[in-house]
Amino acid sequence: MDETIINGINTVWVLLGAFLVIFMQAGFGMLEAGFIRAKNSSNLIMKNFIDFCFASMVFFLVGYAFMFGNGNSIIGFSGFLLLDAPNQSGIPLYAFVLFQAAFAGAAATIVAGAVAERMKFKVYLIYSVILSAFIYPVVGHWIWGGGWLSQIGFTDFAGSTVVHTVGGSSALIAAYLLGPRIGKFNKDGSPNILAGHNIPMAALGTFILWFGWFGFNAGSTLAVGDGELISLIALNTCLAAAIGGITSMLAVWGRWGKPDLSMTMNGILGGLVAITAPCAFVSPGAAIIIGALAGIFVVYGVVWVEKFCVDDPVGAVAVHGVNGIWGTLAVGIFGQKALGLAQEGLIFGGGFTQLGIQLFGVLAVVSFCIISMGIVFKIIKSTVGLRVDKMEELKGLDIGEHGIDSYSDFQLFLTK
């Protein structure tokens, strides 16, 4: 009887987590749409819906098999369509699949913001299917499916690397190959403001992401136990987000004289990304330090990306890429054996072992994503073409790709 009850509770917990992570799609959609111009916002949201639709389909069909199937240390290869799919999660297969499919969708959708306002919709479909059917599950297999990175002791509790670094580095290469939006950079390389059209909507997205992230991190335990671990994770998640918002606000305030709301929201998200890998292995105090630095990294990350004339309208690279890496490394710095990590982190006297593994692992993942997605985009570029034409970009992708404006009754004033 007890076992049934425990299975029941654990399933409730993971399903709650899955629902929350799926709801994060709304968060990504609102955040990213709010940060771009009105004329492209339906296009962004369409991508958002459809990448999750495809992600959950292909994860069911093949992704789970690549990620958690029996295979070698590079890739899994059993359990397609979930037929005889292995399941070591301790919870019902279908609950686990749903939870994992939600993660795959999150990784795919991160890129949407970075390529916003100029990528062809068709291209987005192709790339996003490839990412969620193949790239993400392969990296997932390495780290969570018993693959080579997990074998050398690489640890990523809830996905700073698996989800966010994958998303963030794919976003970087995509934005780079795609080129900046018309009008983003002047001839001398200095950036212009292409302001987000609906900051309150972006704010709502950020709140939804914060809310959903509790499911993302605390759900990743896959078990409730006596409640201690999930409590720690939930508190760490909240504190890292909160301090990330504070430090990013202060950084932007100090540097440019005004507390920028959009950066503050990015800082909150940066804190959340950074705490994702270490959330189970660190104390609340460490979570605060991790989040505080994340908030600062976001601000400078955003500026730094623009230095290279890479145009990332929503800050996906800084939030998910930079802080995905930072969070992964933080495991090796602040992680504690007492909390279940294999080695003590750097500041607890464990030396550089874990940190080295973390660094090596995350670099491997970054390289894999940049190379494989780079090849994918290069092929698409020389066949279908990546960008909509100039006229369409000026008029907006909502009309161009989908036939209708996002805000039909409103007078928009669009001079760029």
């Binding site: 212009n192 403001i193 302001a195 440019w256 920028d260 950066m263 500026v303 623009e306």
Partner: protein
Amino acid sequence: MKLIIAYIQPEKLTDVKQELYAQEVYKLSVTNALGCGQQKGFHKFYRGVEEEVTLLKKVRIEIAVNDNFVDRTINAIVKGAQTGTIGDGKIFVLPLEKCIRIRTGENGNDAIG
């Protein structure tokens, strides 16, 4: 007949309307506008980029009047909109050849009011 066009500060619209009413000018049309002139712009900040904004929010008023109403209309606008600071706005007066009331098809001086 004249067509009077005025650009004023948005927050002065209510005052201008009141002054016009006081002068028995009851009919007017308003559009949203942006203006750039002597008034200094301001700086926007967004995600680490700074930009100067020179087009400021203004309100554009259009009033068709008979010749004998031109001066009182102008005076009313000035009275309502003047603060003495740069950016108060401008008034332009154009010749108006014809005025037709759509409802009745009436024409000329009668149609204006």
